[in-house]
Symmetry: C2
Subunit: 223 residues, 2 copies
């Protein structure tokens, strides 16, 4: 393996992503952010076994992906990495202190308000499927998600993006909404479905999606 | 009511906090951040009814507290507000681009990695207590929390704070861990218990805690 160019950041991603190339793993928003700002990046794949070993745990205390390495700087948490990319390049944050703060607010809304009930629904889906309570609990969890989507849909209304222009807030919100996949929940909100589709149509999204799909299809990243 | 001074930001908080003055509502980290940086602030109390009405929903699309208002700027999401305060005052972010990015990473770790399983445990505690599955599910949720606390405890080790100095990352992490209250989960990790206590001993924390407790005790904020 060649020595990595210290000017090009390296991220980690799943060697075998459990989403089978759907672009739902947490390297996806980081790839998307890199593509939006035109920053080349390298990818180091890690296996599930390696993720729990000390080398990786030094970079990511919770044994997950992605990490971000650039010289001596090591970051984890996709939200933190995406924000760092947005702050150090142009293209993902508007000009003006107040507009930037609004964009960042939507990032936190995506991760703290919209994502938790969606994650709960996902985890229940794969961890509690055999439990007696599964069929009774799932509609409760759907209701919790839809209570949030109601409000988000009302706020977005007929706008293209959550504020005046596409920002890191939309990038993260669309990333989170994509976890709902083609579920009936998202279909109930045509403006949110269109919003997600609008994000997926961006050339930067398409390049990021293709890059992660290539790994699932057995094409290794080149160092 | 006097016209608010546009130089002093105004936040919203619960008129009747459901935590009964324990400082677990989401205005608490914002108050703590203000106190750490020495920024005076005003508080406008909102009732549960007002939170769901259009005036408040214009500021907070999800009908929650807190909001942050300063001149024309309106923010919501406690994470976004705390980060904004940290970025615009000294005292909560270290000097140096890399150290700042590390501190912000811990904020996201608090909100995206540590808090979701804790919230799930809380919500189950008050929403599913009467369900047949309650006693079987709660230990599952405790295990999910402890899996994260294990890693956090290992990373903190014997250090005072998550990085070299107290930062917005510690402020948010301690805020999230406080949701576990005096639970046995936190007691299993003496270093995390001591870390939370270390945060609670900070004068800024104490002032913030006293301010929210005063409201629960019937003392109204003065505009």
């Amino acid at each position: 393996m060649q020595k990595l160019n210290p000017d090009i950041p390296t991220i980690t991603a799943f060697e075998n992503s459990p989403d089978r190339g759907k672009g739902l793993a947490r390297d996806m928003p980081v790839r998307w952010a890199f593509e939006e700002v035109g920053q080349p990046y390298k990818v180091r794949l890690v296996s599930f076994k390696e993720m729990k070993e000390s080398v990786h745990l030094t970079a990511h205390p919770f044994g997950q992906i992605p990490t971000y390495e650039e010289g001596d700087l090591v970051l984890f948490e996709s939200g933190a990495i995406v924000l760092y990319i947005a702050q150090h390049h142009s293209g993902l944050l508007p000009n003006g202190t107040e507009a930037r703060a609004r964009a960042i607010t939507w990032m936190f809304a995506a991760l703290s308000t919209i994502e938790p009930p969606i994650l709960d629904y996902e985890i229940t889906g794969y961890m509690e499927r055999e439990k007696a309570w599964y069929t009774e609990r799932m509609p409760i969890l759907e209701d919790r998600i839809c209570a949030r989507l109601d409000k988000l849909s009302g706020r977005l209304a007929n706008a293209d993006w959550l504020e005046d222009q596409f920002s890191v807030g939309d990038l993260m919100m669309i990333t989170v909404l994509r976890r709902l996949g083609r579920s009936d929940m998202l279909k109930k909100y045509p403006n949110l479905s269109a919003y997600v589709a609008r994000g997926e149509e961006r050339p930067a999204f398409k390049r990021a999606f293709a890059a992660q799909l290539a790994i699932f299809n057995g094409e290794r990243p080149v160092d």
